[in-house]
């Protein structure tokens, strides 16, 4: 248990996953006589997320990181193991318990367009969490949604547009705004910036960091890209084939990776000569930097 020694005194974990396991049973074609096969996507995974911190779950395709996210978000039933949120066991939560959990835990998905209903206006999308949870909308639909739009840096006049009328980065901001609608304590980001162009990705990352600073929630940040994770996370857990192979504070994982797989992952990331960076930044300073305003493509 990472941090148990140093942290038990100052705060109990917000989320605690213990021995989470997910097995999928697939039945081959052939009706009642078809053969079953079992595939373990997540295998006894344990971790904690503390208040105000960001835990990154990193792995390549097939590592089980997204399944883990769905288990923790209660979008999928775990085959085995327990999930505790703020001290309550929510593994089999239903009804009001589940509703309370949904009010505390929100998800931002990978594909900004796929995660927004193409038939709903932004206003409807942003107020949906409150509507679905049967909560009153403070200040009315329009004002509430408009405020959320502003918080994520979008024009509140565009409330009546549909998702298809926004760029990828803007759509992802809407997805983030929706997660904020209920004032969550934990936001699960499932590859939330992977589908975006680098320049947009950087802006969305900035937004995520700013929101955390303002509101103080925790992130469970799922990503395949170690480099992305480095900017945002306090602790990192590396997954491979359904198992966490290494976890620890961010700096430590990057500087002193213990597991050979983590080392392979780090070594595989293409690098840019640091000398080039140094020269570029010196040059930029001399020219009193005309930084391009990072506008998103329409």
């Amino acid at each position: 248990m990472t941090g148990s020694r140093g942290s038990q005194a100052d705060a109990p974990p917000l989320l605690r996953a213990r021995d989470l396991t997910k097995r999928f049973t697939t039945r081959g074609g052939g009706g009642p006589l078809g053969r079953k096969s079992v595939f373990t996507a997540v295998d006894s995974v344990s971790f904690e997320v503390f208040p105000h911190e960001t835990l990154a779950l990193v792995g390549e395709s097939g590592s089980g990181k997204s399944t883990t996210a769905r288990l923790v978000a209660k979008l999928m039933e775990a085959t085995d193991g327990t999930i505790e949120f703020a001290g309550r066991d929510v593994t089999h939560a239903r009804g009001t318990d589940l509703a309370r959990f949904r009010n505390d835990v929100q998800v931002v998905f990978q594909d900004p367009f796929s995660s927004l209903n193409p038939r709903h206006t932004v206003e409807r999308i942003l107020t949906a969490p409150l509507v679905y949870q049967g909560l009153p909308i403070p200040g009315g639909r329009r004002a509430f949604a408009g405020e959320l739009m502003e918080r994520v840096g979008l024009n509140p006049d565009h409330l009546h547009r549909y998702p298809a009328q926004f760029s990828g980065g803007q759509a992802q901001r809407i997805g983030i705004a929706r997660a904020l609608a209920v004032g969550p304590k934990l936001v699960i980001c499932d590859e939330a910036v992977s589908a975006l162009d680098v320049s947009v990705q950087a802006q969305v990352m900035d937004l995520l960091l700013r929101l955390q600073r303002e509101s103080g929630f925790s992130y469970l940040f799922i990503a395949h890209d170690l480099a992305v994770v480095r900017r945002i996370s306090h602790r990192i857990a590396v997954m491979k084939q359904g198992v966490i192979v290494e976890s620890g504070p961010c700096a430590e994982v990057f500087e002193r990776p213990r597991d050979p797989y983590t080392r392979t992952l780090l070594a595989a990331i293409p690098r840019i000569d640091p000398e080039w960076d140094r020269r570029r930044r010196e040059g930029a300073a001399e020219h009193a930097s005309i930084t391009a305003s990072p506008e998103e493509l329409p």
């Binding site: 209660k74 979008l75 949904r102 009010n103 594909d111 193409p118 038939r119 949906a128 929706r178 209920v182």
Partner: protein, 319 residues
């Protein structure tokens, strides 16, 4: 979906549009596109004519001065075995589309009343099919597992059934009673799986889409997921499939009436008129040509509209 019985077995329809068209002016864009298409415009005009004829059938009867069952012995030639007087099946100022041989009933008025019954049955059957097909398709696709198993097996069963033979057998065995209602029920029972299968497939895809998961994570219950999140995305599929179902049912109803198990006389029906014309078509081809042309024209017009509608909706998705 109901083209099934039209062509004896079950020729499969070309697949309907997948996924969702971007909303926001979709309707306006589709309309604009349809208005540019000559085929769609002509077809719509023809359909409007048929619908007006059906709606105002009694008025047409009054204007023409003949009821649907009024015999006009003056218009047929008793000496020639009851052949209509005059050329082209007795077309005249009095009978615009001629008369039936033997009894001299006015064909135009009967066509109008026939349109009424055709439209009524086809539209009712389509509505019923749509409700059953969409609901069961949604349930099967959304819940999966045993719900899907039960519904899918039921669909397999109904689609393996020789629907035409069975419909004829059931209809002929059943007491005459209220034929139109029976027809609607029988058509719908065998018609819904074709829509449900498509809806199920799309629901399956949509359920896997992240916005459904996102709604679930937002706290949406199953009913909200199905009806508020998934159903709106099936809109174009349902529109296209239902538009194409109507001509199928019109054809099937006419076919059943043609075989003598549909609407019972003296109620006018296109299929029946065609069936009656069989024994006359060597001497009075117009008796066959007119109802045949109306039937063909209506089915074709509806098919063209459905086809162009799909095109327009598809194009919206591509952009």
């Amino acid at each position: 979906m109901a083209t099934t019985t039209l062509h004896e077995a079950q020729p499969s329809l070309p697949s309907p549009p997948t996924g969702a068209a971007p909303p926001g002016g979709t309707a306006r864009r589709v309309l604009r596109e349809l208005r540019r298409d000559i085929g769609a415009v002509l077809s719509t005009a023809f359909l409007v004519l048929i619908v007006l004829m059906a709606l105002f059938a009694p008025l047409i009867g009054t204007l023409a001065g003949h009821g649907p069952d009024t015999f006009d012995s003056a218009a047929v030639d008793k000496d020639l075995g009851g052949l209509p007087k005059g050329s082209l099946g007795g077309i005249s100022g009095d009978h615009w589309l001629g008369v039936e041989p033997q009894n001299g009933r006015d064909i135009l008025v009967r066509i109008a009343y026939g349109a009424r019954i055709s439209m009524l049955i086809a539209v009712s059957a389509t509505l019923l099919t749509t409700v059953i097909g969409v609901v069961l398709g949604l349930l099967a696709g959304f819940y999966g597992r045993w719900v899907d198993q039960v519904i899918s097996r039921l669909m397999d069963f109904l689609m393996a059934f020789p629907a035409l033979i069975f419909m004829i057998a059931v209809l002929s065995a059943l007491p005459a009673g209220n034929r139109p209602v029976l027809l609607v029920i029988v058509l719908s029972v065998f018609g819904w799986p074709y829509l449900a299968r498509v809806v199920r497939g799309q629901t399956l895809t949509l359920t896997g889409r992240e916005f459904v998961e996102a709604a679930r994570a937002s706290g949406a219950g199953s009913r909200a997921l199905i009806f508020a999140e998934i159903l709106p995305n099936l809109r174009s599929t349902i529109i296209v499939m239902t538009t194409l179902a109507v001509p199928g049912y019109i054809g099937t109803e006419a076919g059943l009436s043609f075989l003598g198990v549909g609407v019972t006389p003296p109620t006018a029906s296109w299929g029946q008129m065609i069936a009656n014309s069989v024994s006359w078509y060597q001497v009075d081809p117009m008796y066959f040509v007119i109802p045949g042309a109306f039937l063909f024209g209506t089915v074709l017009a509806l098919t063209v509209v459905g086809d162009r509608l799909r095109h327009a909706l598809d194009a919206g998705e591509a952009s």
